[in-house]
């Protein structure tokens, strides 16, 4: 039975001996399109299985169209598989309603995007505080928490600035702060350095790694930049909707 609609599903307790994976993907397949217009569905994921341990930093490498973004969407509960099971922080996402998946994201998942996707008319602090505000936390608490994360990402004193007043690297710091403010179990990042110069990209990756460790977050990052994968514990390669290497969590790192 799915949990009550307006309460966030809590992660299930870890098993006694080996800790349960933070992300468990089992035989997941997904196709897009229908046969209605005489076109066969296009398979995007074909029987993907992958486990990510708690606290682990995993890079998903693959060319465009390899299925890594679709996989991130599955883990983020933004899409549901046609077949297979996705479990995040012990929760089978397929069992949740759309509203429950939103609530789950709000509490247990953080996102970082290539184009930052900040809200231009909110200040830095308001952007960062957004997840807490969505959790209906008092504005004062959200503000204080945002101020604290601002310091962590190196944006101390810039909370009142508008997004348009920031550089690309600073924008990505804001995005990272927003993704981590609610202490998510899982941080999903899609090409987080794709829109930054290499030096800023390195700084951001280091920040993601350090902060994820400090916050105890598991990181799953999609990238096609080999250099970016150096920050991660493990690299999983994908091609044509399948994992071709690195899916063995035990053998990695």
């Amino acid at each position: 039975m799915p949990p009550a609609a307006d309460t966030a599903p809590a992660p299930q307790p870890a098993a006694e001996s080996a800790p349960s994976p933070a992300i468990s993907i089992r035989d997941v397949s997904k196709s897009y399109g229908t046969e209605r217009k005489g076109q066969p569905p296009v398979p995007v994921l074909r029987g993907v299985s992958l486990d990510v341990r708690p606290g682990e930093f995993v890079s998903l490498m693959g060319s465009s169209g390899s299925g890594k973004t679709t996989l991130l969407n599955m883990v983020g509960g933004l899409d549901v598989p046609d077949a297979g099971i996705v479990t995040v922080a012990g929760q089978n996402l397929a069992r949740l309603t759309d509203k429950q998946r939103s609530e789950f994201r709000l509490r247990h998942i953080g996102f970082v995007f290539q184009f930052f996707n900040l809200l231009p008319n909110l200040t830095v602090r308001e952007n960062i505080a957004l997840p807490l505000l969505f959790q209906s936390r008092p504005a004062r608490d959200a503000d204080a928490a945002a101020a604290s994360v601002e310091e962590e990402v190196g944006l101390g004193g810039k909370g009142a600035r508008r997004i348009s007043q920031l550089s690309g690297g600073e924008m990505q710091r804001v995005a990272l702060a927003r993704a981590l403010i609610h202490r998510p179990a899982v941080l999903l990042a899609d090409e987080p350095t794709g829109n930054l110069d290499s030096r800023t990209g390195e700084t951001i990756l280091a920040l993601i790694r350090n902060l994820a460790q400090e916050h105890g977050a598991t990181v799953l990052m999609a990238t096609h930049d080999l250099a970016a994968t150096q920050a991660s514990d493990r690299v999983v390669r994908m091609r044509d909707g399948q994992v071709v290497s690195g899916d063995d969590a035990e053998g990695a790192a």
Partner: protein
């Protein structure tokens, strides 16, 4: 790609795929054009019918001599016939008759009494060739009082045959007539709807009771000689009560008389088109936002800004053309539906017209089409500029482009202030009767000032609302404000449209409510009698025929009746413009406790009676620039007589105005045994029901009275208010359309915002905002726009209503109206519009939450 590759890439296929948006754009133009065409066409058709009648009735006459209510001495016919430059003269008496035999008949006939003894002039002037019935000789026409020649159309409708006898009622008297002949194929007769009966002048005098005087003499002047010269020369031969004019002068006079009425309706039509323009702006904005990536691609490929702009302008023009054509078709349909209402309004208030078909003028329809296209083009200008002004790099990148509008620009501030000052300045000008140009110019200036204030106000308000909104509604409130602030331009346009639509609705509602209240109070003051007796009008658009004054004497002699006030109204030209001369017993004022300009009405009217003075209505005085103590020249059979104005009084029954004299004076001046109504004052304690029955009995005994309408005081007020509400019915339709278009404007704005901020909304979904929360955010944004729009709409509506009531009504009709604000009604309208804007967020909200489905922030779909 064919000849227009940019247009095809940017516009062509999208029009089909974005069906909803395309339809909405077309609707924006079509609704505006339809309202414009409908109003213009219904008006034009009603007036054209009158003018056609005037022109056909004038026939080949080049000059017309008029008796102006006082009549013309027939001897003048001979004088004119002998005058130099006059080729033919055709004297005429014109009256109306009701066809009696048909049960509940509304058939009224125009009775034309012409000089059959001197047919030469008649044949030359009018086309009235007729064929006599068998066994009827020409002399019968001259010697038999009941001999009439009917138009063929009427005979067919009435089922009458040549030679048959039938009954007509003329001036209250039923009379037997017979069909002596038939007029066939006469444009003259057709002009009067075929309802024409012709008789000899000699017989008509008795029937139409003109006291041996003529109504009109039509003349044909010598070809080749300047008509104006002849007119001047003949004018010197005429007594002062008689005027000479070209036949078309009557049409010009009617044009002048109707100018304000038509101007007001036309203004409403143009506002509808303006509100439509706001909708078009929004839908075009959506198009630009949707196609931003394509624009970026084309720009990156080297397509110039100019070509991008022209492609969108071409789309606007195309939408304008399609919407314009549909609007014309819809407008013609709407005009056909409105024709009866407008015809009735003009007939009752101005001149008799009976338009049965629409007078379609290709020029006017083309003009409406052009106006629709120009509006669409102007509305597309902003979005087209937005599309072209952004460099390719930006357009290729996702995210909003709406950063261009500065909420506090100097030029907007300057324009707003200048408009405000200009509007206020125009209001300081004295309201002059005539076209309400200053009033509307002031309204337009205030509208511009309000529109200039929108971005600044919206910016300030949304900033001020940020903290309370966030406190009240959490993250959704904060985001709603953020979204509004990031799209001030588009939001300002939506609010502008809403403000305009609501402002127009409120201003007209306040004006109508104030007017209605004023009329109610006025009726309490002027309607003091217990019962009102008048002949039933044969139809809604026809005036009732008068009745014999003997009825008033009979009623006064009845038990229970304290006093009667027989009232006679005559249309006549008074001091250069048509008006009504009224005659009643001024001592009836003794039943009134009202004051007139600070003095007891009874006292003022007693003095007026004692000194042979007139009282004139406000409209009469304003139109002629007269006031108390001035004189009014009244044409009478005995010559032009001047009377001093004892007082000016409020009256809302005619915009042409009344000059009223005491009945005794009137009877001395005019040999007129007729009256139009009788006000009956009962003795204290008398039973109105019994009095009503007694009056009916007296009328039946008299036998010469048309079917009567006897109304109690309250009933008469009820009829008057019903007529009032009917007259303003048209404006409610227009207001409804304006509101719908304005609310659609808000919906399309939200759509545009959502499309523009698709990535931001998606990001919120990633962060964990549920669909419900996104929908709530959209609803809160809609509420903010709705609130600001409603506040500004109410404010502008109140400002415009004041101008409408205090300036435009006086300029148009010469009526002083007590300004009253119906707060409850305004509250209701504001609530409904606010509710509608909230409801308008439902579809955009659905679009917003569904955009997350199957779409990704992350490059791959």
């Amino acid at each position: 790609m064919g000849r227009f590759p940019v247009f095809k890439a940017l516009i062509g296929s999208y029009l089909r795929h974005e069906r909803g948006r395309t339809l909405l754009t077309i609707l924006g133009v079509a609704l505006g054009v339809a309202v414009l065409v409908a109003i213009d066409l219904a008006n034009e058709s009603a007036v054209a019918s009158f003018k056609r009648t005037v022109s056909d009735v004038a026939g080949r006459a080049t000059l017309t001599v008029r008796g102006n209510g006082a009549g013309i001495d027939p001897a003048l016919t001979r004088t004119l016939a002998k005058a130099e430059g006059v080729e033919a003269v055709a004297p005429l008496i014109e009256g109306t008759a009701t066809f009696v035999p048909a049960e509940g008949s509304t058939e009224t006939l125009t009775l034309l009494a012409v000089d059959l003894l001197a047919p030469g002039g008649e044949e030359e002037v009018r086309d009235l060739s007729f064929q006599l019935a068998e066994n009827v000789g020409f002399t019968d026409l001259l010697t038999s009082p009941g001999a009439m020649i009917f138009a063929e159309g009427f005979l067919n409708r009435a089922g009458l045959a040549l030679g048959e006898r039938t009954r007509l009622r003329v001036l209250g008297l039923e009379t037997e007539v017979f069909v002596a002949g038939v007029v066939r194929g006469s444009t003259y007769a057709e002009a009067l709807g075929g309802n024409v009966a012709v008789m000899d002048l000699g017989n008509a005098d008795l029937l139409l009771r003109r006291g041996g005087r003529l109504d009109r003499i039509d003349l044909i002047t010598t070809e080749g000689l300047p008509t104006a010269t002849i007119q001047d020369r003949l004018a010197r031969l005429l007594p002062p009560t008689v005027s000479i004019e070209r036949p078309e002068a009557r049409s010009t006079q009617v044009d002048n008389m109707l100018a304000a009425f038509r101007f007001n309706l036309g203004a409403l039509g143009h506002i509808s088109l303006l509100v439509g323009a706001f909708l078009i702006y929004n839908t075009m904005s959506i198009a630009v936002v949707r196609r931003r990536e394509v624009i970026g691609t084309l720009r990156a490929l080297g397509i110039s800004r100019r070509r991008v702009r022209w492609a969108f302008l071409a789309e606007g023009l195309l939408m304008g053309a399609v919407g314009g054509v549909l609007g014309i078709v819809g407008g013609i349909g709407l005009a056909a539906a409105l024709l009866d209402t407008v015809s009735a309004a003009i007939s009752i208030n101005f001149v008799q017209t009976n338009a049965e078909s629409l007078a379609l003028s290709p020029g006017k329809l083309l003009f409406a089409l052009g106006l629709g296209m120009a509006t669409a083009l102007a509305a597309a200008w902003g979005p087209a500029a937005e599309a072209s002004a952004t460099p390719p790099a930006n357009t290729m990148r996702r995210g909003s482009l709406e950063h261009t509008l500065r909420p506090r620009s100097r030029w907007r501030l300057a324009l707003g202030l200048a408009s405000l000052l200009a509007g206020a300045g125009l209001l300081f000008l004295d309201p002059r009767p005539g076209l309400p140009i200053e009033g509307y110019a002031a309204s337009l200036a205030f509208v511009v000032a309000f529109l200039c204030a929108v971005p600044g106000l919206l910016d300030g308000l949304s900033r001020a609302a940020k903290a309370p909104y966030a406190r009240l509604f959490g993250a959704e409130g904060l985001l709603a404000i953020s979204s509004t602030q990031s799209s001030l331009g588009r939001a300002s346009v939506a609010i502008g449209g809403l403000m305009l639509g609501l402002g127009m609705t409120i201003s007209v509602s306040v004006m109508v409510a104030s007017f209605r209240d004023t009329v109610v109070v006025w009726m309490q003051q002027v309607l003091q009698a217990d019962l009102y007796v008048s002949p039933r009008a044969p139809s809604a658009v026809a005036r009732a025929e008068p009745m014999d004054a003997a009825l008033a004497d009979r009623i006064e002699a009845l038990d229970g009746v304290a006093f009667v006030d027989p009232f006679r109204t005559r249309r006549m030209d008074l001091m250069g413009a048509p008006a009504f001369l009224g005659a009643g017993r001024l001592e009836a004022a003794r039943f009134s406790n009202e004051d007139i300009y600070g003095r007891p009405m009874a006292e003022v009217l007693r003095e007026a009676k004692a000194n042979d003075q007139l009282i004139v209505s406000e409209a009469f005085a304003r139109k002629r620039g007269l006031e108390r103590g001035d004189t009014v020249a009244v044409p009478t059979p005995g010559g032009l007589r001047e009377f001093v104005i004892a007082s000016v009084y409020y009256d809302y029954s005619s915009e042409q105005g009344y000059a009223i004299m005491d009945r005794e004076l009137y009877l001395q001046l005019f040999d007129d045994p007729l009256i139009d109504s009788v006000a009956v004052y009962l003795k204290d304690g008398a039973d109105p029901g019994a009095a009503r029955r007694a009056i009916e009995g007296a009328a039946a005994e008299l036998g010469t009275v048309p079917p009567l309408r006897i109304s109690a005081n309250s009933e008469l007020r009820g009829y008057a208010l019903e007529a009032f509400d009917r007259t303003f019915g048209v404006t409610y339709v227009l207001q409804f359309i304006a509101i719908i278009v304005a609310v659609l404007g808000v919906a399309t704005t939200l759509f545009a915002q959502i499309l523009d901020r698709a990535d931001e909304i998606l990001a919120l979904r990633y962060v964990g905002a549920s669909k419900g929360r996104v929908a709530k955010m959209i609803a809160l944004e809609s509420a903010l726009l709705g609130f600001v729009g409603v506040v500004l709409g109410v404010a502008s509506g109140l400002a415009l209503s004041w101008i409408l009531t205090k300036v435009i009504m006086i300029q148009s009709f010469g009526w002083t109206i007590q300004y009253e604000i119906p707060w409850l009604l305004i509250g209701q309208i504001a609530l409904v519009v606010f509710g509608a804007t909230l409801a308008a967020s439902v579809l955009p909200a659905r679009e917003a939450v569904n955009r997350g489905n199957g779409r990704s922030m992350m490059g791959v779909r």
